[in-house]
């Protein structure tokens, strides 16, 4: 098995991560309700959620793998495939669109080397996607780089932003 596969098959819910899940379980009257937080824990640890991880989440929470997959596929923020080390989400919905969001996307694709929306740059560092409304329309264009919410990004600010994460 390759290193990636070994990591994929290693259980997520051990040690500290298991402790965190157990604390989360106290917040809800059912185990099932901890599903979204549990998936966030997996993604936090592994960067994405593999089919194997879904099976494990199901085992921990008493849910079938198919049920877990049904939930994972509903929510767009859960990655079902590995993404670049830096995952960039750009809002291009109408309010940002009229303020030039599509030019921000072009600049990000060019400067990160990701080239194409949803594709990862050859060095594995960058994935850029367009997303619908990020809820910061007065600060067009908002960009989410991993967990960092960056306001008022313009094509001119893109090179500096990309440099910061290199």
């Amino acid at each position: 098995m390759s290193a990636v596969e070994t990591q994929e098959y290693a259980p997520v819910f051990t040690g500290k991560t298991l402790e965190r899940l157990q604390e989360i379980l106290t917040r809800y009257p059912t185990k099932q309700a901890a599903l979204l937080p549990a998936l966030w824990l997996v993604q936090g640890e592994r960067g994405w959620i593999s089919d194997r991880n879904m099976v494990e989440v199901g085992e921990v929470l008493g849910l079938t793998p198919a049920y877990v997959k049904g939930v994972v596929t509903f929510y767009t923020m859960y990655h079902q495939h590995p993404v670049g080390a830096n995952f960039v989400q750009v809002c291009t919905t109408s309010p940002c669109n009229i303020c030039g969001a599509e030019d921000v996307v072009k600049a990000l694709l060019a400067h990160t080397g990701a080239k194409e929306l949803g594709a990862t740059s050859p060095d594995g560092q960058w994935t850029v996607i367009e997303v619908e409304c990020l809820g910061a329309c007065g600060f067009a264009t908002p960009v989410l780089v991993n967990d960092d919410f960056v306001e008022s990004v313009t094509p001119e600010r893109v090179p500096e932003l990309v440099r910061k994460y290199k």
Binding site: R27, Y28, P29, T30, Q32, A33, A34, L35, L36, P37, L39, W40, L61, L63, G70, V71, F74, Y75, T76, M77, Y78, Q89, T92, T93, S94, P95, N97, I98, C99, V131, E132, C133, L134, G135, A136, C137, G138, F139, A140, L144, D147, D148, F149
Partner: protein, 426 residues
Amino acid sequence: MGYPHKPHAKETALLSKHFGDPDARTYKGWAKRGGYEAWKQAQTMAPAAITDVVKESGLRGRGGAGFPTGLKWSFMPKEKKKPHYLCVNADESEPGTFKDREIMRWTPHALLEGTLIAMRAIQAEVGYIYIRGEFTEPYAIMEQALAEATKAGVLGGHKIHLHRGAGAYICGEETAMMNSIEGKRGNPRIKPPFPAAFGVFGMPTTINNVETLAAVPHILRQGAAWYKAMSLSNPKSTGTKLFSVCGHVRLPGNYEVTMGFPLKDLLHELCGGMRPGRTLKACIPGGSSVPILNREESEGCLLDYEGCVEKGTMLGSGGVIVFDDSADMVYQIMRLARFYAHESCAQCTQCREGTAWTTKILERILAGQGKMADLDLLLDLSDNMTGKTICVLSDSCAAPVVSGIKKFRTEFEDYIAGRKQPVMVA
């Protein structure tokens, strides 16, 4: 205040008074500003008495529907036989709206205080604050505030938990939100049963918006009569409202004004008007789900629930999207339709198919391959998408399309007749 800009004399800063002041974020700083006084007061009141004050104040839901808050609370069972829950809707995802984000970023304790008061009023021991997944910063700030408030012992016997969404606009619909908290796909539920009878985990539940709850401490401290008196036009719309203004204005941001404030003044005075050399073309006053207003309608519109209805639109969430004369309305309406197509949960045929086909037809028009009959087709499609589904996402897609074709028809015809260069590739 007009965060991130300086406060304007015509604003009434109640909820936004401390925006931009990091000291107000802390428990100590908040307590210094009179924080949790209303909660102390509420703890001496009977639950029904709290509900009565809120009812009397005329406060209506700030998330979009405008349902009277006190009345909603009064639907909860008086005699408690099962656990009661409060869900706080912080899934702010309506294009054009970014007010709840600012409330959570700057005044997290205001939300916690309102949440605690509401929990007492509806006799809930557990509250969930559902924060959209993309709001990483507000989540961290709320988490910190909750830890501080818990440590200070202000929660009493109540439990408040944050629940992070994962990228689904539809989870802002109250029944979808409850499913999402339960660990399910965010599909809206058929009503009835209503949440007050059968809500999250099958228990009596109330769902309130962030801004609604943030107003509650003020009402308790200063009285229903004081709140009710804040109304510039229709007495059925009371208090202050945060308007998030975005798009083509010089000073986009959050502005807090008294209900009934003229939209014209908001745009041209508070927001500094249009960019140099540009004129107002259209405005969506209540988030992308409400009908578009043209310039004349916008300039005559009073910002309260009734004033917006009078102009054929809705106050909604107060997300004001402004388009100047440089905006391509056909392209922007396509972008809005694409948003709804992307966010449809796909349970109902009218919505799943309707939002997708509306987008495809608009894209075809923008690619120069539209037919005149497409406009009637879009209107027919929209008619079949309105009032026929479990939730109103489908209706929300139809609203900008129908109003857009009605008010900016020539722009659509220009693409179809080849008078305008295609901007998309088929």
